[in-house]
Amino acid sequence: MSTRPPTLRENRRYILVRVEPAGTEIDQKELYYTISDAVTSLWGDGMAAVIMQAVVAAENGHVVIRCRRGTEKELAIALSTVTAYRDVRLVLRIVAASGTIESLRERIRSGPQTSPVSPEPEECIFDKKSMSVLQCNGQKLDVIEKGFKNANRLFISRDDLE
Protein backbone atom coordinates (compact mmCIF):
# COMPACT_ATOMS: atom_id res chain seq x y z
CA MET A 1 0.00 0.00 0.00
CA SER A 2 1.36 3.42 -0.89
CA THR A 3 2.13 5.91 1.87
CA ARG A 4 -0.88 7.98 2.80
CA PRO A 5 -0.82 11.76 2.95
CA PRO A 6 -0.42 13.07 6.52
CA THR A 7 -4.07 14.07 6.93
CA LEU A 8 -5.22 10.52 6.15
CA ARG A 9 -2.75 8.77 8.45
CA GLU A 10 -3.88 7.33 11.76
CA ASN A 11 -2.82 9.23 14.84
CA ARG A 12 -0.31 7.40 16.95
CA ARG A 13 0.90 7.72 20.52
CA TYR A 14 4.22 6.61 21.93
CA ILE A 15 4.70 5.24 25.43
CA LEU A 16 8.08 5.38 27.11
CA VAL A 17 8.79 2.52 29.52
CA ARG A 18 11.78 1.80 31.71
CA VAL A 19 12.97 -1.80 31.82
CA GLU A 20 13.72 -3.25 35.24
CA PRO A 21 15.94 -4.82 36.48
CA ALA A 22 18.48 -2.38 35.10
CA GLY A 23 21.00 -3.83 32.68
CA THR A 24 18.57 -6.28 31.02
CA GLU A 25 19.57 -6.82 27.38
CA ILE A 26 16.62 -5.97 25.13
CA ASP A 27 16.03 -7.32 21.65
CA GLN A 28 13.31 -5.19 20.04
CA LYS A 29 11.77 -8.02 18.05
CA GLU A 30 11.56 -10.43 20.95
CA LEU A 31 10.16 -7.75 23.25
CA TYR A 32 7.55 -6.99 20.58
CA TYR A 33 6.42 -10.64 20.64
CA THR A 34 6.27 -10.59 24.45
CA ILE A 35 4.16 -7.41 24.49
CA SER A 36 2.00 -8.66 21.65
CA ASP A 37 1.36 -11.87 23.58
CA ALA A 38 0.35 -9.87 26.68
CA VAL A 39 -1.98 -7.59 24.68
CA THR A 40 -3.62 -10.46 22.80
CA SER A 41 -4.01 -12.53 25.94
CA LEU A 42 -5.69 -9.68 27.81
CA TRP A 43 -7.76 -7.94 25.13
CA GLY A 44 -8.06 -10.52 22.37
CA ASP A 45 -7.13 -10.33 18.69
CA GLY A 46 -9.82 -7.77 17.87
CA MET A 47 -8.60 -5.18 20.34
CA ALA A 48 -4.93 -5.98 19.62
CA ALA A 49 -5.58 -5.07 16.00
CA VAL A 50 -7.03 -1.75 17.14
CA ILE A 51 -4.15 -1.01 19.53
CA MET A 52 -1.53 -1.84 16.84
CA GLN A 53 1.32 -2.05 19.36
CA ALA A 54 4.91 -1.97 18.13
CA VAL A 55 8.31 -1.54 19.73
CA VAL A 56 9.95 1.33 17.87
CA ALA A 57 13.08 2.01 19.89
CA ALA A 58 15.13 0.53 22.71
CA GLU A 59 17.93 2.56 24.23
CA ASN A 60 19.52 3.25 27.63
CA GLY A 61 17.32 0.77 29.47
CA HIS A 62 14.20 2.41 28.04
CA VAL A 63 11.80 1.23 25.34
CA VAL A 64 9.44 3.28 23.19
CA ILE A 65 6.20 1.49 22.31
CA ARG A 66 3.80 2.75 19.68
CA CYS A 67 0.02 2.44 19.77
CA ARG A 68 -3.01 4.02 18.14
CA ARG A 69 -4.20 7.24 19.77
CA GLY A 70 -6.93 6.57 22.34
CA THR A 71 -5.71 3.08 23.20
CA GLU A 72 -2.91 4.14 25.56
CA LYS A 73 -4.85 2.99 28.62
CA GLU A 74 -5.46 -0.49 27.23
CA LEU A 75 -1.82 -0.81 26.22
CA ALA A 76 -0.67 0.39 29.66
CA ILE A 77 -2.83 -2.23 31.40
CA ALA A 78 -1.47 -4.94 29.10
CA LEU A 79 2.11 -3.76 29.73
CA SER A 80 1.58 -4.21 33.46
CA THR A 81 0.98 -7.93 32.80
CA VAL A 82 4.37 -8.40 31.14
CA THR A 83 6.41 -10.34 33.68
CA ALA A 84 9.10 -12.19 31.75
CA TYR A 85 11.14 -11.97 28.59
CA ARG A 86 13.33 -14.82 27.30
CA ASP A 87 12.59 -16.63 30.58
CA VAL A 88 14.10 -13.72 32.50
CA ARG A 89 11.87 -11.82 34.92
CA LEU A 90 11.40 -8.18 34.14
CA VAL A 91 8.91 -5.39 34.58
CA LEU A 92 8.07 -2.49 32.28
CA ARG A 93 7.56 0.72 34.27
CA ILE A 94 5.63 3.34 32.33
CA VAL A 95 7.42 6.69 32.40
CA ALA A 96 5.53 8.91 29.93
CA ALA A 97 3.31 9.04 26.87
CA SER A 98 3.75 11.42 23.97
CA GLY A 99 2.77 12.12 20.39
CA THR A 100 6.35 12.06 19.10
CA ILE A 101 9.31 9.77 19.59
CA GLU A 102 11.64 12.73 19.74
CA SER A 103 10.04 14.20 22.87
CA LEU A 104 10.40 10.81 24.58
CA ARG A 105 14.07 10.64 23.52
CA GLU A 106 14.46 14.08 25.08
CA ARG A 107 12.82 12.71 28.21
CA ILE A 108 15.29 9.82 28.33
CA ARG A 109 18.20 12.26 28.00
CA SER A 110 16.84 14.64 30.65
CA GLY A 111 15.67 11.87 33.00
CA PRO A 112 16.88 11.69 36.59
CA GLN A 113 20.46 10.49 36.51
CA THR A 114 20.87 9.06 39.98
CA SER A 115 24.52 8.93 40.72
CA PRO A 116 25.87 6.52 43.30
CA VAL A 117 26.16 8.09 46.73
CA SER A 118 29.51 6.40 47.17
CA PRO A 119 31.79 4.40 44.88
CA GLU A 120 30.15 1.24 43.60
CA PRO A 121 31.25 -1.76 45.66
CA GLU A 122 32.17 -4.93 43.77
CA GLU A 123 31.15 -7.19 46.58
CA CYS A 124 29.32 -6.91 49.86
CA ILE A 125 27.93 -8.85 52.80
CA PHE A 126 24.17 -9.28 53.11
CA ASP A 127 22.49 -11.61 55.60
CA LYS A 128 25.95 -12.97 56.55
CA LYS A 129 26.52 -14.08 52.95
CA SER A 130 29.07 -12.77 50.50
CA MET A 131 27.44 -11.15 47.46
CA SER A 132 28.63 -9.83 44.11
CA VAL A 133 27.15 -6.49 43.08
CA LEU A 134 25.48 -6.56 39.64
CA GLN A 135 23.94 -3.09 39.57
CA CYS A 136 24.25 -0.06 41.78
CA ASN A 137 22.06 3.01 41.44
CA GLY A 138 22.01 5.40 44.36
CA GLN A 139 20.58 3.53 47.33
CA LYS A 140 19.57 0.56 45.20
CA LEU A 141 21.80 -2.50 44.90
CA ASP A 142 21.15 -5.61 42.83
CA VAL A 143 23.32 -8.45 44.09
CA ILE A 144 23.85 -12.12 43.50
CA GLU A 145 25.17 -14.62 45.99
CA LYS A 146 28.72 -15.76 45.32
CA GLY A 147 29.21 -19.35 44.26
CA PHE A 148 27.77 -21.53 41.56
CA LYS A 149 24.78 -22.93 43.48
CA ASN A 150 22.64 -19.82 43.76
CA ALA A 151 21.98 -17.67 40.69
CA ASN A 152 19.06 -15.69 42.07
CA ARG A 153 19.27 -11.93 41.90
CA LEU A 154 18.51 -10.15 45.18
CA PHE A 155 17.28 -6.57 45.39
CA ILE A 156 18.52 -4.71 48.44
CA SER A 157 19.46 -1.20 49.53
CA ARG A 158 22.74 0.16 50.85
CA ASP A 159 21.27 0.33 54.34
CA ASP A 160 20.87 -3.46 54.30
CA LEU A 161 24.61 -4.03 54.02
CA GLU A 162 26.51 -5.20 57.07
Binding site: E20, L90, I94, K140, F155, I156
Partner: protein, 214 residues
Protein backbone atom coordinates in the same frame (compact mmCIF):
# COMPACT_ATOMS: atom_id res chain seq x y z
CA UNK B 1 -6.11 8.28 53.24
CA UNK B 2 -3.00 6.12 53.05
CA UNK B 3 -2.41 4.26 49.82
CA UNK B 4 -1.44 0.80 50.98
CA UNK B 5 -0.40 -2.45 49.36
CA UNK B 6 -2.02 -5.00 51.67
CA UNK B 7 0.54 -7.82 51.22
CA UNK B 8 4.17 -7.98 50.22
CA UNK B 9 6.68 -10.67 51.14
CA UNK B 10 10.16 -9.25 51.73
CA UNK B 11 13.38 -11.26 52.11
CA UNK B 12 13.72 -14.10 53.15
CA UNK B 13 10.25 -15.04 51.78
CA UNK B 14 11.01 -13.04 48.66
CA UNK B 15 14.10 -11.76 46.89
CA UNK B 16 13.91 -8.09 47.91
CA UNK B 17 14.68 -6.53 51.26
CA UNK B 18 11.98 -4.53 53.02
CA UNK B 19 14.02 -1.31 52.57
CA UNK B 20 14.24 -1.91 48.83
CA UNK B 21 10.50 -2.59 48.77
CA UNK B 22 9.99 0.75 50.51
CA UNK B 23 12.20 2.56 47.97
CA UNK B 24 10.25 1.07 45.06
CA UNK B 25 6.86 1.57 46.70
CA UNK B 26 7.64 5.24 47.21
CA UNK B 27 8.46 5.72 43.54
CA UNK B 28 5.30 3.82 42.55
CA UNK B 29 2.98 6.04 44.58
CA UNK B 30 2.37 4.08 47.81
CA UNK B 31 2.32 5.50 51.33
CA UNK B 32 2.54 2.25 53.24
CA UNK B 33 3.00 -1.50 52.89
CA UNK B 34 1.80 -4.49 54.84
CA UNK B 35 4.89 -6.69 54.95
CA UNK B 36 4.20 -10.26 56.01
CA UNK B 37 6.30 -11.51 58.97
CA UNK B 38 8.35 -8.31 59.04
CA UNK B 39 8.75 -5.92 61.99
CA UNK B 40 6.80 -2.66 61.74
CA UNK B 41 8.56 0.64 61.17
CA UNK B 42 9.19 3.36 58.64
CA UNK B 43 11.60 3.09 55.71
CA UNK B 44 12.21 5.96 53.27
CA UNK B 45 9.02 7.62 54.48
CA UNK B 46 6.94 4.53 53.77
CA UNK B 47 5.08 3.05 56.72
CA UNK B 48 5.66 -0.68 57.15
CA UNK B 49 2.96 -2.59 58.98
CA UNK B 50 3.49 -6.13 60.17
CA UNK B 51 1.26 -8.60 58.38
CA UNK B 52 0.35 -11.99 59.81
CA UNK B 53 -1.13 -14.50 57.42
CA UNK B 54 -2.95 -17.49 58.87
CA UNK B 55 -3.59 -20.35 56.50
CA UNK B 56 -4.12 -24.12 56.47
CA UNK B 57 -5.03 -24.31 60.16
CA UNK B 58 -8.16 -25.83 61.70
CA UNK B 59 -10.66 -23.33 63.15
CA UNK B 60 -9.71 -24.10 66.75
CA UNK B 61 -6.07 -23.24 66.10
CA UNK B 62 -7.03 -20.12 64.13
CA UNK B 63 -9.01 -18.88 67.17
CA UNK B 64 -6.11 -19.62 69.52
CA UNK B 65 -3.58 -17.92 67.23
CA UNK B 66 -5.70 -14.81 66.68
CA UNK B 67 -6.26 -14.49 70.46
CA UNK B 68 -2.51 -14.70 71.00
CA UNK B 69 -1.55 -12.05 68.42
CA UNK B 70 -4.48 -9.66 68.18
CA UNK B 71 -2.95 -7.09 70.54
CA UNK B 72 0.41 -7.07 68.73
CA UNK B 73 -0.66 -4.26 66.37
CA UNK B 74 -0.27 -6.42 63.27
CA UNK B 75 -2.63 -6.70 60.32
CA UNK B 76 -4.12 -10.16 60.77
CA UNK B 77 -5.33 -12.00 57.67
CA UNK B 78 -6.87 -15.42 57.29
CA UNK B 79 -7.03 -17.39 54.06
CA UNK B 80 -10.57 -18.14 52.95
CA UNK B 81 -11.89 -21.71 52.78
CA UNK B 82 -15.45 -23.00 52.74
CA UNK B 83 -18.45 -20.86 53.62
CA UNK B 84 -18.78 -22.04 57.24
CA UNK B 85 -15.12 -21.38 57.94
CA UNK B 86 -15.30 -17.90 56.39
CA UNK B 87 -18.36 -16.94 58.44
CA UNK B 88 -16.65 -18.11 61.62
CA UNK B 89 -13.45 -16.22 60.80
CA UNK B 90 -15.27 -12.99 60.00
CA UNK B 91 -16.92 -12.92 63.43
CA UNK B 92 -13.59 -13.50 65.15
CA UNK B 93 -12.40 -10.40 67.01
CA UNK B 94 -8.98 -9.30 65.78
CA UNK B 95 -9.19 -10.55 62.19
CA UNK B 96 -8.75 -7.70 59.73
CA UNK B 97 -8.70 -9.27 56.27
CA UNK B 98 -10.14 -12.36 54.61
CA UNK B 99 -7.81 -13.37 51.78
CA UNK B 100 -7.66 -15.76 48.84
CA UNK B 101 -11.35 -15.58 47.99
CA UNK B 102 -10.51 -16.22 44.32
CA UNK B 103 -9.00 -19.60 45.18
CA UNK B 104 -11.71 -20.66 47.63
CA UNK B 105 -14.82 -22.66 46.94
CA UNK B 106 -17.34 -21.06 44.55
CA UNK B 107 -19.94 -20.73 47.31
CA UNK B 108 -17.42 -19.62 49.92
CA UNK B 109 -18.60 -16.02 49.91
CA UNK B 110 -22.30 -15.34 49.71
CA UNK B 111 -24.63 -12.48 50.69
CA UNK B 112 -24.76 -13.61 54.34
CA UNK B 113 -20.96 -13.65 54.60
CA UNK B 114 -20.84 -10.24 52.88
CA UNK B 115 -23.30 -8.78 55.41
CA UNK B 116 -21.28 -10.26 58.27
CA UNK B 117 -18.05 -8.79 56.84
CA UNK B 118 -19.69 -5.36 56.65
CA UNK B 119 -21.07 -5.61 60.21
CA UNK B 120 -17.75 -6.77 61.68
CA UNK B 121 -15.55 -4.40 59.66
CA UNK B 122 -13.54 -7.21 58.08
CA UNK B 123 -12.06 -6.48 54.68
CA UNK B 124 -12.03 -8.88 51.77
CA UNK B 125 -8.78 -8.85 49.82
CA UNK B 126 -8.36 -8.61 46.08
CA UNK B 127 -5.14 -10.35 45.12
CA UNK B 128 -3.82 -8.76 41.93
CA UNK B 129 -1.17 -11.38 41.20
CA UNK B 130 -3.53 -13.76 39.31
CA UNK B 131 -4.54 -10.84 37.06
CA UNK B 132 -0.88 -10.14 36.30
CA UNK B 133 0.67 -13.60 36.17
CA UNK B 134 -2.03 -15.92 34.82
CA UNK B 135 -3.36 -16.12 31.30
CA UNK B 136 -6.44 -17.58 29.62
CA UNK B 137 -9.18 -19.41 31.53
CA UNK B 138 -7.41 -19.08 34.88
CA UNK B 139 -7.42 -15.28 34.62
CA UNK B 140 -10.98 -15.27 33.30
CA UNK B 141 -12.13 -17.29 36.31
CA UNK B 142 -10.44 -14.87 38.72
CA UNK B 143 -11.98 -11.84 36.97
CA UNK B 144 -15.38 -13.50 37.21
CA UNK B 145 -14.95 -14.18 40.95
CA UNK B 146 -13.86 -10.61 41.65
CA UNK B 147 -16.80 -9.21 39.68
CA UNK B 148 -19.12 -11.38 41.80
CA UNK B 149 -17.42 -10.12 44.94
CA UNK B 150 -17.87 -6.50 43.90
CA UNK B 151 -21.61 -7.02 43.44
CA UNK B 152 -21.76 -7.87 47.16
CA UNK B 153 -19.41 -5.00 48.01
CA UNK B 154 -21.70 -2.47 46.32
CA UNK B 155 -24.70 -3.87 48.15
CA UNK B 156 -23.25 -4.32 51.66
CA UNK B 157 -20.25 -1.93 51.56
CA UNK B 158 -17.71 -4.09 53.38
CA UNK B 159 -14.08 -2.89 53.09
CA UNK B 160 -11.92 -4.07 50.20
CA UNK B 161 -8.12 -4.19 50.21
CA UNK B 162 -5.73 -4.51 47.27
CA UNK B 163 -2.64 -6.74 47.48
CA UNK B 164 0.12 -7.32 44.97
CA UNK B 165 1.44 -10.39 46.87
CA UNK B 166 4.83 -9.22 45.63
CA UNK B 167 7.78 -11.42 46.52
CA UNK B 168 10.06 -9.18 44.49
CA UNK B 169 10.16 -5.51 43.56
CA UNK B 170 9.53 -6.74 40.00
CA UNK B 171 6.06 -7.89 41.12
CA UNK B 172 5.08 -4.45 42.43
CA UNK B 173 2.94 -2.27 40.19
CA UNK B 174 2.35 1.48 40.23
CA UNK B 175 -0.90 2.75 41.71
CA UNK B 176 -2.01 3.94 38.27
CA UNK B 177 -1.35 0.48 36.79
CA UNK B 178 -3.29 -1.14 39.64
CA UNK B 179 -6.20 1.20 38.97
CA UNK B 180 -6.06 0.05 35.34
CA UNK B 181 -6.01 -3.60 36.38
CA UNK B 182 -8.96 -2.95 38.69
CA UNK B 183 -10.93 -1.64 35.72
CA UNK B 184 -10.82 -5.23 34.38
CA UNK B 185 -12.95 -6.34 37.31
CA UNK B 186 -15.38 -3.44 37.09
CA UNK B 187 -13.80 -1.11 39.64
CA UNK B 188 -13.67 2.52 38.57
CA UNK B 189 -11.05 4.98 39.83
CA UNK B 190 -12.93 6.13 43.00
CA UNK B 191 -13.57 2.48 43.92
CA UNK B 192 -9.88 1.65 43.50
CA UNK B 193 -8.86 4.70 45.57
CA UNK B 194 -11.23 3.59 48.31
CA UNK B 195 -9.78 0.07 48.19
CA UNK B 196 -6.22 1.46 48.52
CA UNK B 197 -7.35 2.87 51.88
CA UNK B 198 -8.95 -0.42 52.96
CA UNK B 199 -6.16 -1.40 55.35
CA UNK B 200 -6.34 1.94 57.14
CA UNK B 201 -10.10 1.51 57.41
CA UNK B 202 -9.96 -1.90 59.07
CA UNK B 203 -7.01 -1.17 61.35
CA UNK B 204 -8.26 2.20 62.61
CA UNK B 205 -9.41 2.04 66.23
CA UNK B 206 -13.13 1.44 66.51
CA UNK B 207 -15.22 4.51 67.22
CA UNK B 208 -17.67 3.77 70.06
CA UNK B 209 -21.33 3.89 69.11
CA UNK B 210 -22.17 5.93 72.20
CA UNK B 211 -20.04 8.94 73.03
CA UNK B 212 -20.24 10.59 76.44
CA UNK B 213 -20.11 14.36 76.08
CA UNK B 214 -19.11 16.05 79.33
Amino acid sequence: MKITDAAVFPYPSGDSSVRRFALEAKSLGFDSLVAVDTPAGTCEGIGIQTGILIQDLPMREVIARVKRIRDAGAVISVNARDNGFNRAVITLKGVHILRGIQAADKLAFDHVTAKMAADNGVAVDIDLSPLIFTRGPARQRVIHRYRDLLVFERRFEFPITLSSYARSILDLRATREITGLCSLIGMDTPDAEKAFGGVERVTAPAVPFVRVIP
